[in-house]
């Protein structure tokens, strides 16, 4: 199963072990999201959650090239980013359930998971709201003279936010090591981006002189090789980059959006053929680096870990009432 591919295509310089790790990470996100959905539909999770299913290759492909001390900022659809950057399943679920053991002691919930130990500066409930924060992290990196990189994840909905353009302009002016990753999943909430984004998406960045690429966000090998390029470039003083990763939100805007009247089932079926997990499975199989038994074992191991994490979170205590007034001020 570890037979390597001798060609020089995307990611071919990496061995099967690496790709199986990436596969496992994508499966972990997929299983996490399925479990979150189950917690919602069984009324065991307060509030809602925005699932990342279908977009896993972007978070994993980007974070695979990042170091632990690199930064990310995330979005309301952020579970995938947090997990890809190294967050633990149990504390993630605990946060989703509002438990004290959660990453934010139950104060943040699904949309605000932050974990400084893995460089996660926080998911954000404001669309595009973290563009400034990621850019500020880039400024901080420059002023402190380190070789860290900050990756700013956002969706195509954020292309409507002026803050993004203010931030990219300054990042380019000052050559800040910030990678702006637009996860173009086609819809801002319930509206297709053909109705909200005029002109060229890439052109929004090239106008500032920012290095920009549009890529297939379903293919983790493409995401990985592009990430390697722009992250190394930024780390070496080459300045910011802007990636438009074309992808699709396999589920609704949030767990409660089940009818999805704003798009067709045919469109969904077309995109389902390009499931990022399946694409990687196919490639690993075709190149004889792994087979179905390997994928099944990984899926089972991950499912066991997810089940344990869910149980941990369900049994974990809620915060004490005294917690409500803590952490308003440092």
């Amino acid at each position: 199963m570890t037979e390597t591919n001798g060609t020089k295509q995307n990611g071919a310089e990496l061995d099967a072990e690496h790709w199986l790790q990436a596969y496992e990470q994508m499966v972990r996100i997929r299983s996490f999201e399925e479990a979150a959905n189950e917690l919602y539909t069984s009324a065991r999770m307060p509030g809602i959650a925005h699932l990342y299913i279908g977009e896993e290759a972007i978070a994993v492909g980007m974070c695979e090239v990042l170091r632990q001390d690199d930064y990310i900022t995330s979005t309301h659809r952020g579970h995938g980013h947090c997990l890809a950057k190294g967050a633990a399943l149990d504390r993630m679920f605990a946060e989703l359930l509002g438990k004290e053991a959660g990453y934010c002691r139950g104060k943040g919930g699904s949309m605000h998971i932050a974990d400084q130990e893995t460089g996660n500066l926080g998911a954000n409930g404001i669309v595009g709201g973290s563009a400034g924060i990621a850019t500020g992290a880039g400024m901080s990196i420059k002023l402190r003279g380190t070789d860290q990189v900050a990756v700013c994840f956002f969706g195509d909905g954020a292309l409507g936010q002026g803050l993004l353009y203010e931030s990219m302009n300054m990042a380019q002016l000052w050559k800040l090591p910030v990678i702006y990753v637009c996860e173009n999943n086609q819809y801002g909430e319930y509206t297709h981006n053909s109705k909200t984004a005029a002109g060229s998406m890439i052109g929004r960045a090239t106008g500032f002189g920012v290095h920009a690429q549009g890529i297939d966000g379903q293919d983790i090998r493409t995401v990985y090789s592009t990430a390697r390029l722009v992250v190394d470039r930024a780390r070496n003083g080459g300045g910011p980059a802007f990636l438009v990763c074309n992808t699709y939100r396999f589920r609704g805007h949030h767990v409660g959006d089940i009818d999805r009247p704003y798009r067709t089932r045919e469109e969904e079926e077309e995109w389902a053929k390009r499931d990022p997990l399946k694409l990687l499975e196919d490639w690993l199989t075709k190149t004889r680096q792994a087979d179905a038994s390997v994928f099944e074992r990984i899926q089972q191991d991950v499912q066991t870990a997810v089940d344990e994490a869910v149980n941990f979170a369900l049994e974990a205590p809620f915060p004490e009432e005294s917690e409500v007034e803590r952490h308003v001020y440092a």
Partner: protein, 342 residues
């Protein structure tokens, strides 16, 4: 205690004989320069802060002293630089974000209210945002409705933010230094009309705690609470009241958040009357909050309802004939206080 030429009473430690006097502007500049020298994590970013030394010339010389890496001229992108401040603060720096007119803080609201103010709480206490946003307030510069507002109440409303409104050069320096060292986002409002105001500022190192009011003038018959430049307006009224045989106590909260409720209430209990003066719009403003705090805490000691005077609830007009009507005047403060003591 000793009395300065402008009537402000300071403790001997503040006003030692032979002590130098500097302007409010110089006090701010000194505070920033001292903190930048003390802590290399401190940097300044804003429109025209470097080459021009800021539009009010408050930061002149900082560029030469600390270089362009730490005194950064930005594009006209208020939200962007506020966001950069938040991100830099979370990742180990201590940014000072300069928003030249308080009116322009409307452009940074998401970054301050949804990001800076909530990051520490939402992260369960793991992330901190030690940033300062310095900006201005105050009318009467004939600058019309978009360059004259006093919007400190907007920020004072938000848990997670601290807000300072210094009136004197001494307070400005001490509060600015504390703000820079504070691990929370702090918004400092400097009245544009105070920049040339002189006052005693000791040469040596000192800081003033955020959340400690200052009794600028002790009195017996009525408490006048005033913020920022309204301290001077109130002082003028206090002098006139003295001529009329009324002894007024002037209390300056110095910060609206955190608010030193204890000093306000204690003073009102002592004098049995309280009048609050602030240059923000009166409706839903700082005066309302301060008056409510006093009414709650001193009700059984009061001989009159707590009164408040804010700016008129109109956009600040350009014409001097109208603009001056909109902000609290010393005469109006005097008349109101006198009537309360009648």
């Amino acid at each position: 205690m000793s009395t300065l030429k402008n009537g402000i009473v300071c403790s001997p430690a503040i006003h030692a004989p032979g002590e130098r006097e500097i302007t409010f502007s110089q006090a701010i500049r000194e505070a920033v320069a001292e903190e930048m020298a003390r802590d290399e994590r401190v940097f300044v970013i804003g429109e025209d802060v470097a080459e021009a030394g800021s539009v009010f010339k408050v930061l002149v010389g900082l560029l030469d002293e600390f270089g362009a890496d730490r005194v950064i001229d930005s594009p006209i992108s208020e939200a962007g630089i506020a966001g950069i401040g938040v991100g830099a603060a979370i990742t180990g720096m201590r940014p000072i974000v300069d928003i030249m007119f308080g009116d322009f803080t409307t452009l940074v609201m998401d970054q301050m209210i949804n990001q800076a103010a909530k990051t520490h709480y939402m992260s369960g206490g793991k992330l901190t945002v030690p940033m300062v946003l310095r900006t201005t307030l105050g009318a009467s510069r004939r600058s019309a409705a978009q360059h004259s507002q006093s919007l400190h109440a907007l920020f004072s409303h938000i848990p997670g933010l601290k807000v300072a409104v210094p009136a004197t050069p001494y307070d400005a320096k001490g509060l600015m230094k504390s703000a820079i060292r504070d691990d929370n986002p702090v918004v400092i409002f400097e009245d544009k009309m105070l920049y040339q105001q002189k006052g005693p500022v000791p040469e040596g190192e000192y800081v003033l705690p955020l959340g400690q009011a200052d009794v600028k003038r002790a009195g017996e018959d009525i408490t006048i609470v005033a913020t920022s430049s309204m301290v001077y307006t109130a002082l003028e009224a206090v002098d006139k009241l003295a001529e009329a045989g009324i002894s007024a106590e002037l209390v300056d909260p110095r910060t609206t958040t955190p608010l030193d409720t204890e000093t306000l209430i204690e003073s009102a209990r002592k004098t049995s009357r309280a009048l609050v003066v602030d240059e923000g719009y009166q409706q839903y403003g700082v005066t309302g909050e301060l008056a409510a705090v006093i009414a709650d805490g001193a009700f059984y000691y009061l001989d009159a309802p707590v009164k408040r005077i804010g700016a008129m609830n109109v956009p600040v007009p350009f014409s001097p004939a109208m603009e001056d009507l909109t902000i609290p005047s010393a005469d109006y403060v005097f008349e109101t206080a006198k009537a309360m003591c009648g």
